[in-house]
């Protein structure tokens, strides 16, 4: 009566673990465009090209009244674009229409006073909070930016940039 029970025997987990490690190593080893990679190639299309950034007017973080957005978050975006030899193509709109555009793939990045407690997490990937500011109710909040869901190379690159330049 033992054989059916012991079908899930010792060699199988061991073999599977080794296979998993091998597959993981093979997967990571054969990437040329960086690891983690973007399923839709967002960072690749930005590098040496155009960064399509969407901002909403949210002083003091973003002032979008002028011809070109200003404010610390706009500067961070310019710095990120420069680091990747990219031109910034600005879109100024409401947060909701920016998020919709980001989800459709019409934007690469959205900013404008977004925080880590933003409710947009099912539409966009939020970065880690890069700096702490005082929120509208006087409580401390952490500022974040949004990139398309699952574009993990883009997310990692932006988070690395914000880690270096984001402290206010």
């Amino acid at each position: 009566m033992t054989p059916p029970l012991l079908r899930s025997g010792a060699p199988r987990p061991l073999r599977l673990t080794l296979a998993a490690v091998a597959v993981s190593l093979a997967l990571t080893g054969c990437t040329s465009s960086g690891y983690p990679a973007d399923p839709d190639g967002t960072l690749d299309s930005i590098s040496g090209g155009t960064l399509r950034a969407g901002v909403s007017h949210h002083p003091p973080h973003v002032d979008a009244r002028g011809a070109e957005p200003t404010g610390p978050e706009a500067e961070l975006i310019r710095g990120f674009a420069a680091a990747h030899d990219a031109e910034v193509e600005w879109t100024v709109s409401s947060e909701e229409s920016l998020m919709t555009a980001l989800e459709k793939g019409d934007l690469d990045l959205v900013a404008g006073g977004l925080t880590t407690s933003s409710p947009w997490t099912s539409h966009a990937a939020l970065t880690r909070g890069y700096t702490e500011v005082t929120g509208p109710d006087g409580e401390p909040v952490e500022l974040a930016m949004a990139v398309p869901l699952g574009e993990n190379q883009m997310l990692g690159a932006l988070e690395a940039h914000l880690d270096q330049e984001g402290q206010q």
Partner: protein
Amino acid sequence: MSGEQATGGAQRHQADLPDDGRSPSAAGRRFGATELPPQMQRVVKKAIVLEWVTLGVMALTITAVGIVMGSSQAMRAAWIEDLLSLIPPIAFLVAIRVINRPPSRNRPYGNHRAVGVGHLVASVALLVMGALLVVDSALGLITGEHPPIGTFHLFGQTVWQGWFMIGIMLLSVPGPVILGRMKLKLAEQLHDKVLYADADMNTADWQTGLATAVGVAGVGLGLWWFDAAAALFVGASILKDGLSNVATAITDLADSRARELEGTGPHPLISELEHCAQTTDWVEQAGARVRDEGHVFHVELFVVPRSAGGTAGGAGTGSHAAGARPAPVPVDVRALEELRGRIVDLDWKLEDVVVVPVTELPQEVRPSPDN
């Protein structure tokens, strides 16, 4: 003397058992009225230690995964599954305490059913875990959900969170593999289905851990569907395990015939004890109703005694009672008790045994061609 009186005698004998000083190790762990043989006592102790170790390992894993999971849906699912896998060990530890109580006037069958209830609870946990995985990952695939996996900022370095997830998931594999295999062995010896379901849960744990590690590695390659596909694959097998365990648990609680641990065939002890009765010289025919109370079986053995005239008269007491009833067959109570004693001695799982003399076997205990 009627059959009912003889049955009553057997039950009184059963009720007297704990007090008659038959076993010197009465202070040890017991399954209700059943005193466990010393090697079984050791198995139970080992199982209890294993389950506490499991709870400890799971607590560590849950803490570690909770720290690295971030906003990742895949890791959150893995974390919820880890929480679910706490249920079977707890069910086992509760059941093993409850069944320790001997039968009483109010609980004449003992508390063995606690094991059946524990098995049902553990099976449902397994089922829910499988269903969660399947539904969650299928939805992710259908809606084209691209899992975001960000970075950590550690010592001035920005490191991809995926590495930590893969590391933690691979580290979480060996524990359940080892524990699950040890439990499977003990489950067989104890005929403990809670432990069996828990071993299945451990298998589910390490498989999910591996699948998550491979899935995250695939996501890192830019294959957004990899994590969900791996989870779906593993979830389907867990769901299947959960369904078969729930089915076994329910049919056991609904008094189906005692079956082997994995719920496939009838338990071999049934034919063994029937054979023991059938080869007794004064027995013409015998058939048993055996239900699984948890670790132990409840046995009702129906015997048709040979008539006083010898073998030839047996035809009259057989199943075809056409026409006038034959003369009454005398039943020797001591012979019934002796038969009962031999059946109890067959296996430690057989303790609650009732021997009922009848003139004709009930339909449901007659041998059928399909078993």
